[in-house]
């Protein structure tokens, strides 16, 4: 600390104002790049929102600016929300995601605790192995997994996805949790052991509460992966009744070369809503957990 602050103080002393100018510079650059990236990031969703508010006729009309809605309408939204099939897509997504997140977190937390804390022969190698499996992309995995899911009779069944997504989520979440548990001082579990806790109590009463920020980060990850999954449902699900949002919207609203643009955009926005809500809600907890300095005794 002192080593870095002393030269700065000398800087102020010798040529007053230079620091402030430097700081203003840094702020300008920061804001400028933030604005540019915000525009780049927000342009697609804004365009989606605008398109979703247009009638098919207006979408097809090439004369005006595409960034302008002349007669905004919610008819695309009503059409989707009034459509039983669309509601089912949504429920399928929710069902699969909730099951996957729950399954992932139970497995990851238990696995991370065992691999990171209960030193046993080969636990190190096993932990590395778990991480390596995460590096295998799903585009490579879906063919063998198709065989397995087919063998179990779960093809074209939303529950088959619950079995498949954890191959993506569990390794990564386990890895996050091992890292988080590793940051908890060893004396904390020793104190708990002496206080009379068994392994389960130690996990439940000490590790999970202390590692809550990590658990929330892992939950967000599992949620995102599961909600946004596209390759696996495309490969494994064929009947509309079992489809999640991601492929349901695409498969039902694109008929041959007819694109129902307005409804597609409305569907995509509706599908993006839950992650946004969850992020906004859990991020608060996440940051609160971080600032609580939970791992410092």
């Amino acid at each position: 600390m002192s080593a870095t602050t002393i030269p700065v103080k000398q800087g102020i002393y010798h040529k007053a104002g230079s620091l402030r100018r430097e700081r203003r510079w840094a702020l300008w650059t920061a804001y400028l790049s933030l604005i540019v990236s915000a525009i780049i990031m927000l342009a697609p969703p804004v365009y989606m929102l605008l398109t979703s508010l247009k009638t098919s006729a207006e979408v097809a009309d090439q004369s005006g600016s595409p960034w302008w809605v002349s007669s905004p309408t919610l008819e695309n939204y009503w059409a989707l929300l009034g459509n039983r099939m669309f509601i089912d897509f949504f429920l399928n997504s929710a069902k699969v995601t909730i099951a996957v997140v729950a399954l992932t977190m139970v497995i990851s937390v238990l696995a991370a605790f065992a691999l990171g804390r209960m030193r046993f022969w080969g636990s190190q190698a096993l932990a590395t192995g778990v991480f390596l499996t995460y590096l295998v992309p799903d585009t490579l995995l879906f063919i063998p997994l198709y065989q397995i899911v087919g063998g179990l009779g779960l093809l074209d069944n939303a529950w088959g996805l619950v079995l498949v997504y954890p191959t993506l989520t569990v390794p990564f979440c386990t890895w996050i949790m091992i890292g988080y548990f590793a940051s908890i001082p060893k004396e904390l579990d020793e104190a708990a052991l002496i206080d009379g806790a068994n392994w389960m109590q130690m996990l439940w009463k000490i590790f999970i509460p202390v590692a809550l920020p990590g658990i929330i980060a892992a939950t967000i990850f599992a949620f995102t992966v599961s909600w946004a999954a596209f390759v696996y449902p495309t490969a494994f699900i064929t009947s509309p009744a079992e489809m999640p949002m991601t492929i349901g919207v695409v498969s039902q609203l694109i008929r041959g070369d007819t694109f129902a643009w307005g409804q597609l955009m409305a569907g995509a926005l509706l599908a993006a809503l839950p992650p946004v809500v969850i992020y906004a809600f859990l991020m608060d907890y996440y940051i609160a957990g971080l600032t609580a300095g939970a791992t410092k005794g």
């Binding site: 104190a191 708990a192 806790a197 202390v210 609580a292 005794g297």
Partner: protein, 366 residues
């Protein structure tokens, strides 16, 4: 309340490091024993084996007469205070202290009574609702002690509990720990590398070095009758001076003769003890407080010598003078009124009835 026995206890870590090499130690009920020694000598390892956090590679450990070698920590009925406190960060002070009792299914009323009582003893009652992060280092240390006290265990184990505190707080907490022990009287094993902490707290001090016990005894005994050169040099601050010398016999009396010819007479009551070593090379050990200026009242067994100070350190109530004598550092404690100057020979006296003669071949005090 219980006694603790260690019999031929060995700890070998994977990779062949033998951290503890066969320790025998009997600790009586209510006793306060301090394990002290330099870094890496195996103090923590010994304590952790008693706690059950480290498996023992050989020997037996008994608590209250029961061999606990294979009993897990939670069933040994011990409590431990760690150097970094190890408070549960998500629990209030109250819950931190109550945790062990809750796990042991104590009735709510009993838990409440014990926590409040411990909080009173430690003077942390106003902090009970706070989280650890809202406490100062000293307060956290008190909570960690409170967590141990409420359990009313057979043995308290402390592993360098004060080394994260600043000097002033350390002295204050040291007194606090002593007070608590006088109140609750639980058998206590306390690890530190600070010999002042060891001397002030202990009923008996265990001096360890390289995985073995050098000497066990009450603080005063270790100070006055160290058994080995290591203990003689470790206990006491500033450390004892060791000056190469010879024991020489002259007409029935013995003298300690330094290499530069300085001759110091051995007190009569020690002549018989040292006679077998006459003519041999030894180390003459004398503490700085026994190498002083000529202002002392007790005039018996004083031997004069003259040395030239290299550094003078006035400490207020005393002055330390450092000399270099044939390659060895020598320190003397002077009365602050003594006019000592760097480079000017200084008349000193050695209190020969407080000296130690060490056999350099065995490093044992003769």
């Amino acid at each position: 309340m219980a006694q603790v026995s260690l019999r031929k206890v060995i700890k070998a870590y994977e990779g062949g490091v033998q951290a503890v090499k066969g320790i025998d130690l009997e600790i009586a009920d209510h006793e306060f024993v301090v394990l002290v020694g330099p870094s890496g000598c195996g103090k923590s390892t010994t304590l952790r084996m008693i706690a059950g956090l480290e498996e023992i590679s050989g020997g037996d450990i008994a608590i209250g007469g029961t061999i606990v070698n294979d009993i897990p920590p939670r069933d040994r009925d011990i409590a431990m205070v760690f150097q970094n406190y190890a408070l549960y960060p998500h629990m209030s002070v109250y819950d931190n202290m109550a945790f062990g009792l809750t796990l042991r299914k104590f009735p709510k009323a009993e838990i409440d009574k014990r926590v409040k009582e411990a909080a009173r003893i430690l003077d942390i009652t106003p902090l009970l609702e706070r989280k650890p992060k809202a406490l100062s280092g000293g307060q956290r240390q008190r909570v960690a002690m409170g967590r141990a006290i409420v359990r009313d265990p057979k043995v308290f184990l402390f592993d360098e509990p004060l080394s994260n505190l600043d000097a002033k707080l350390r002295v204050q907490m040291r007194t606090e720990i002593k007070k608590v022990h006088q109140t609750v009287k639980t058998t206590t094993i306390y690890v530190t590398h600070d010999q002042v902490e060891a001397m002030t707290l202990a009923d008996r001090v265990v001096v360890m070095n390289h995985g073995v016990i050098e000497q066990v005894g009450p603080p005063q005994e270790l100070y006055h009758h160290p058994a080995t050169k290591f203990v003689a040099g470790f206990i006491g601050s500033p450390a004892m001076n060791f000056i190469p010398a010879r024991i020489e016999e002259a007409s029935g009396a013995l003298n300690v003769v330094m290499n530069n010819g300085t001759t110091l007479a051995v007190p009569e009551d020690r002549v018989a003890r040292y006679r077998p070593h006459a003519g041999k090379q030894v180390l003459f050990g004398i503490r700085p407080e026994h190498l002083t200026d000529d202002k002392t009242m007790d005039k018996s067994n004083l031997a004069p010598l003259s040395l030239t100070p290299e550094v003078i350190e006035p400490m207020g109530m005393e002055t330390l003078a450092h000399f270099r004598h044939e390659g060895t550092e020598i320190t003397a404690r002077l009365d602050p009124s003594t006019p000592a100057e760097v480079g000017k020979p200084l008349a000193l006296i050695a209190h020969m009835n407080q000296m130690h003669i060490i056999d350099p071949t065995t490093d044992k005090v003769i």
